[in-house]
Symmetry: C2
């Protein structure tokens, strides 16, 4: 493999992102299908790890998976006025099938509230059928003009939860519960701190009463919306006649929610942890936890070293780790290190003749401090109980990635009170998370966006923002009164 | 729930099939999307169990999952002449997207050989890149005229394996290996015996050199193709210019395979084991292994019975079983039994006050022999080590389902030597598996199909058919010489 360089982040963050993806063989633009991508095995394995963890969380909170049609009659979208307005410009439309023109065209689902609303109306009859808690893993399509691998693609993979409840209160609890599932997943698994909050009316899901979001900070100071949870009220219930008989034998519309998280998260993961050496993966999402590289110079060393490398790999596998033994011939250890670092493998084990004598191995964590000679620190570990010590390294590495990202987030947060300062902050190339006051109008929100490209990411939860953000003040743009600060950032 | 009756199989097999699906809430026709279906949670959980088992087998044989675009440029299909001829009539076509007419329309993938061939040509350069072993889980669309839940739907879920190899021999080995994976899955997990064999040229996958199949016998005597594995030769390699440099530094086209298994298998499962009482599931695919039904008449019995029922449910769960405790109020035990039987739960545990005294429970396996009074046998089991005894019941039940299906398959097999007899067998409503001679021509194959609706399911493997099937004879239709018998059946 030619050692194609990765553009340093400081030079061109956007090119760095593409280079990391290409070098780690995560995905590539489909090219022949506009705006779509191919997710290659190493990238797909990361998504599978995300799916496995989220799916467990969804099932633990009482949800069941189901599968609804890919195609939706165009007329369905039109039943909810805001919904069609939001999604119509991005639809891919099937007009012909089976060699004939269709009487009514279908769109490829951009999201499934409408078709699922239709089926909920058939399945729900009594309050005993509620809550109905459904999730779907699948592909959706939104014909976007500007696309970027993982972050915004014509087709993407995601999960969409859809639930129906007897009361608005129950639905609201569900919205909060699932947002917290996303937050827990981001923190515990992605090692990516997020700020929970409520979207403004302008940034709300088309057809929702309220949208809640978890917002993450990327390394370049931009925000990335990482999961949303919507209170749909009775909007889709009314559009699709989803009614139930309550305990007083009265017919009522159900209260619905929906919530989704997509392959976008692979992009968020890359931009949270990776470095100029390539991909960095938190162990909980790494398809390969450990690579073992045998080192020998003479032929008479080879057999013993390979035997030990195999034994260690098997031992670690029996401890539940995913281990790759790189015994490729005709390739120097350094070239192997280079390749596995780019692929984000959290821990490398080097084993050579001297290690055999000492009954130890040399280990290197993917991101490590420099030693006194300016080289990345390695750690010598005894072969005995290696699974336990590697397990600890992985746990520590997972925690350190979260800590580093949390430190970056905390340091990025800036309180801004004047419009001049606001403009300056966002004119700066290094974008950041800004808490400033807002007068609550869409007009001001759009004016701010026009001038600075900064958008209101959310009205943060009190527990997720500094206490000072919840003191009243004056809108940074209009000077009108404001009850609390909101979170501004440039966003992906 | 109103106790809607299930049509007996003897009365109307096709209606019985639909009733079982409806009563077990497995799926329903989408209605508003022609020929498509909604897979409901109980049905989807069965597919998830199938996926989990197959995915493990694919990974154990070295395959990695990836994700390719849903849409395929129409021109791609035309690059392989037989392929487009086979699939063109069934395509769903996207002509508009993002509010504009597209310059080149896309079809929704009916299968992905073409688009994957395109990417293989970018990824493969040297013999060191081979074999390339990829699998994709996803949805595909084939606009079929006559559809039937699970068995044939416009959109269906499946996996499609796509591999590239340096030699035809390697590719052929892969074709055999993956067919055996399907056979093992059918036998060990679905409890469904299959016959492996080679398809005739007429029944081959469009664009393949050879198609291998596993064929199962449904209860009504019809065959169901349950998984296919294709030797694509260099057909797609040439169409998409997938070349590699061999060890002698010469450029060669790769040899490819593809193999697939779909949600059709949920239909096969239903028609292999279910009965007039509803769904029957082999334990290895049952989303719920055990339902615990507490029984009490007086209020003072209730607390103790519920406490014991909960304790037992928890114990079984800690043994790794999926357990449902049905403590719904205002519903008689008999109504609960009825409902869970229809949903195919393999084992029911009844627990009442007398059981508590005796420290035992009453158990009922979903399909059981009748006792001397003509009632289904129940078995009393001690509470101690209940997980072990229930585990044994489940294992025995899994084995008994396979044995019953195998017996039915063996008994169905009929050797036919004359055309009169052949016509009579297939004029009979109870279809069956027939071994008869064939002269090897498509002309005869189609003439037989025209007259009897029977098709050649495969040229069976020697190990999967009686030895007498491999003696020479004369074609049952033309009288011309034939080297071996082939498997005929009416098919789904």
């Amino acid at each position: 493999m030619a050692e194609t360089p990765i553009t340093p982040r400081a030079e061109d963050y956007s090119q760095w992102y593409q280079d990391v993806i290409a070098q780690a063989e995560l995905a590539e633009p489909a090219g022949v299908v506009r705006g779509c991508m191919v997710i290659r095995p190493h990238g797909f394995a990361i998504w599978e790890a995300m799916q496995a963890d989220l799916d467990r969380r969804f099932k633990e909170t009482g949800h069941k998976n189901a599968c609804f049609p890919l195609l939706i009659p165009m007329s369905f979208l039109e039943k909810e006025a805001e919904h069609v307005e939001g999604f119509a410009p991005e639809l891919a439309v099937v007009t012909h099938a089976g060699g004939k023109e269709l009487e009514e065209p279908y769109c490829i689902r951009p999201t499934s509230e409408t078709i699922i609303g239709h089926f909920f109306s058939k399945w729900i009859d009594s309050h005993r059928d509620l809550p109905l808690l459904i999730n779907q893993w699948g592909n959706v399509m939104r014909w976007e003009l500007r696309t970027r691998l993982f972050l915004r693609t014509g087709e993407f993979l995601w999960q969409e939860g859809h639930t129906a409840h007897a009361t608005h209160e129950d639905a609201k609890e569900e919205v909060l519960r699932m947002l917290d599932v996303y937050r827990d997943f981001a923190h515990e698994v992605m090692a990516m701190p997020v700020i929970r909050g409520i979207k403004t009316a302008n940034e709300r899901f088309a057809g929702a009463l309220e949208t809640r979001t978890v917002e993450a900070l990327m390394q370049d100071g931009k925000a990335l919306q990482s999961g949303t949870s919507h209170d749909l009220g009775q909007n889709f219930g009314k559009a699709f006649n989803v009614m139930f008989q309550n305990e007083n034998k009265e017919r009522e519309y159900v209260w619905q929610t929906s919530w989704g998280l997509s392959t976008r998260m692979v992009g968020a993961l890359i931009m949270s942890h990776s470095d100029d050496g390539g991909l960095v993966l938190p162990p909980r999402l790494a398809p390969i936890h450990v690579v073992v590289v045998p080192i020998f110079k003479k032929d008479d060393e080879k057999a013993a070293v390979l035997e030990a490398a195999n034994r260690i790999a098997d031992e670690l596998r029996s401890d539940g780790l995913q281990v790759e033994l790189d015994d490729r011939e005709g390739m120097k250890p350094g070239a192997k290190y280079f390749e596995w670092e780019r692929k984000g493998v959290p821990v490398r084990i080097e084993i050579g003749p001297r290690d055999l004598e000492e009954q130890s191995v040399m280990t290197k964590v993917r991101v490590s401090e420099l030693d006194e000679r300016g080289k990345p620190k390695k750690e010598k570990l005894p072969m005995e109980d290696l699974g336990i010590s590697i397990g600890k390294q992985l746990d520590d590495f997972q925690a350190s990635l979260f800590d580093a990202a949390k430190k970056r987030l905390d340091e990025s947060i800036t309180f801004v009170d004047t419009w001049d300062e606001f403009r300056d902050v966002f004119a700066d190339q290094s974008s950041r998370f800004v808490y400033a006051h807002w007068d609550g109008t869409t007009e001001t929100e759009l004016a701010i966006k026009d001038e600075t490209k900064a958008t209101i990411r959310c009205l943060p939860y009190e527990s997720d923002a500094p206490a000072e953000a919840f003191q009243p003040g004056e809108c940074v743009k209009s000077g009108k009164p404001s009850a609390q600060r909101v979170l501004y950032a440039k966003a992906y």
